[in-house]
Amino acid sequence: MKIPTFRHLLPLGALLAAAFCPPAQAGKTLDAIKQRGNIQCGVSTGVAGFSLPDSQGKWSGFDVDLCRAIAAAVLGDANKVSFVPLNSQQRFSAIQAGEVDILARNTTWTLNRDASLGLSFTGVTYYDGQGFLVPKKLKLTSAKQLKNAEICVQSGTTNEKNLADYFRSVGVKVKPVVFEGFEASFKAFFSGRCQAYTTDISGLAGVRNKEAKNPDDYMILPEVISKEPLGPAVRRGDDEWFAIVRWVGFALIEAEEQGITQANVDGIRAESKDPAIGRLLGTTEDTGKLLGLDREWAYRSIKAVGNYGEVFARNVGPDSVLKLPRGLNNLWNKGGILFAPPVR
């Protein structure tokens, strides 16, 4: 049961704010964060592997770790983050209105969103694609067999549009059943209301392994019907803040490539003679001052959450309930497409 909040009125609030405030320049996000002493991080209301609060209200997940890494880089403390749960409809208004500093909410980067919503995506942190979850007892082998099927989907996602596009292109008619809430959408599927459930494959794995009574009764169909590059977004017009969020992401990838982990980062920092590592960890050159941070920004991020591979393994990979393979989300020299520009 979702507790209703006034955040439903966000777009209206933003409109009122926009009405009352005379036109102004975009504020300095970094200054505001330093003054406030914490980062407001917009996350989902609960998607396993990406952002999910436990029974004590402690958030964990891929997106959560990214915010923690940024907090460690900027404020020197990975715990100085307030997580603001947002549903799919609220998320863009929340970042536009300035309620959150960063939107790390498994959000797909598209042209429309990048160009017309007053926000900028800082990069891709997770390459995903949309798929279908079906009960094994239907004995389906392909999404094309879903003729006249009813498909549960959550509203306010790119998934709804991909669903229509895909079945239009293959000439199969299906009926979407659209739910406002993530929970309502998969609950209806498990009750048998729909023959298939669709969302990003990472989400399907989470729903199957965490929410199904018996995960083995369900399977993910082989079709991947869309490209879903997920990544964080910041308000448009603050290039300094944009660069920080972008480079913390790159630093975690670079750390994996250099073999730096949460456990060995201190040792490597003390001993390594590699100039690339020296630049990343701030022992030789000060890369931080170019970003408006201090020289140990990347060191603190890695120390707080580990490198990209560790973040992946802990939240969505083998050490998590999702058990997703690295796939595209592997380093460029290991069969994936993660490629961080040089830190120099």
Partner: protein
């Protein structure tokens, strides 16, 4: 001078009006400037873009290639499709429950009182979710459909009735049949629609019941005694004395209840019924035009509410005139 006096009286009002207008203009200007300053596109031009998403059920032909305004129209039609039958059904049911609460027999009185006190004290959203999960969990799959009446089927996919339809030029009756994943042929009412209809009907009916009961009890004892004294039968007393007087007390709050019902139908989004708010939510996210989509939703509800209020007021005038000395 009378003219000068009049001018003096109107002047403050004119100044106030101008001030309000100036304020509104300033707000509008700021909104546009701020949106532009933040790199957010604004305007209603997006309504003619292709919608790009499907809508589960609609009264008229709609597909994802049609413009967004058609999607909004489909959503509005779906809102009316559930709200209008709910208004009719809740009025009938509400009147019966209201009369039941005044019954001289204890059993109907107890049943109706329990119904009213239970349903009106549970939030509508909970009733709606309960109703929906009951429908989707308890009903069988299409392969094991139950047939409550010949020619009808009841499954997780909804209620299927025989329907008159035309396909590829040939018209005729078609009967629902279990086929593949679901049921084909006939008319279908989705479980989302049924859940919203049932929940809205019962929730509104118990409020209407109280209005009806209050209206009837507002008729003074003396009027009824007088009617009996001149020899009218009980039904005649109800028809010619109680009803006309009670209606005057019933109609205005009944109108409020209808307005509430229409607005409450927006909760349908929680169970996946594609009414106006659901379509607007999707459009909002596909296009990013949050303000515009919310303005459209507000405008549609305002228009529907004003129209309902107008109709109720007209009817009220009709009822109120009669019997006024």
């Amino acid at each position: 001078m009378p003219f000068r006096k009049q001018l003096l009286r109107l002047l403050p009002q004119a100044v106030l009006l101008l001030a309000v207008l100036a304020l509104l203009l300033w707000f509008g200007h700021n909104v546009l400037e701020n949106l532009r300053g933040r790199g957010i596109r604004a305007g209603f031009d997006f309504l003619s873009d292709p919608a790009g998403f499907e809508i589960g059920e609609s009264l008229f032909a709609y597909d994802s290639g049609q413009p967004l305004w058609r999607a909004f129209l489909t959503g509005t039609a779906n809102t009316l499709r559930v709200a209008l039958p709910a208004i009719v059904l809740s009025t009938i049911l509400g009147s019966l429950i209201g009369l039941g609460r005044l019954a001289s027999h204890a059993v109907p009185r107890a049943v109706c009182t329990t119904l009213v006190e239970t349903l009106r004290n549970i939030p509508l959203l909970l009733q709606l979710l309960m109703c929906y999960f009951a429908l989707t969990s308890l009903l069988p799959e299409a392969s094991a459909a139950i047939s409550p009446m010949p020619g009808t089927l009841l499954t997780k996919g909804g209620l299927f009735l025989p329907g008159w339809g035309c396909e590829e030029g040939a018209c005729g009756w078609s009967f629902p049949e279990a086929e593949g994943f679901g049921v084909s042929g006939g008319w279908s009412l989705s479980p989302e629609f049924l859940a919203v209809l049932i929940a809205l009907t019962f929730y509104s009916a118990v409020f209407i019941a109280e209005i009806v009961r209050g209206g009837i009890q507002s008729v003074s004892r003396g009027q009824i005694d007088a009617a009996r004294a001149i020899g009218l039968r009980p039904f005649q007393v109800l028809r010619h004395v109680v009803a006309p007087l009670a209606l005057r007390a019933i109609v205005p709050p009944l109108g409020n209840q209808y307005l509430n019902l229409i607005k409450n139908s927006s909760l349908a989004v929680a169970v996946g019924y594609p009414e106006l708010v659901s379509v607007a939510n999707t459009s909002l996210n596909q296009t990013g035009r949050a303000f515009e989509c919310i303005v459209i939703v507000m405008a549609v509800y305002l228009a529907l509410s004003l129209l309902t209020a107008l109709l109720v007021n007209l009817y009220n005038r009709l009822v109120a005139l009669r019997g006024t000395a």
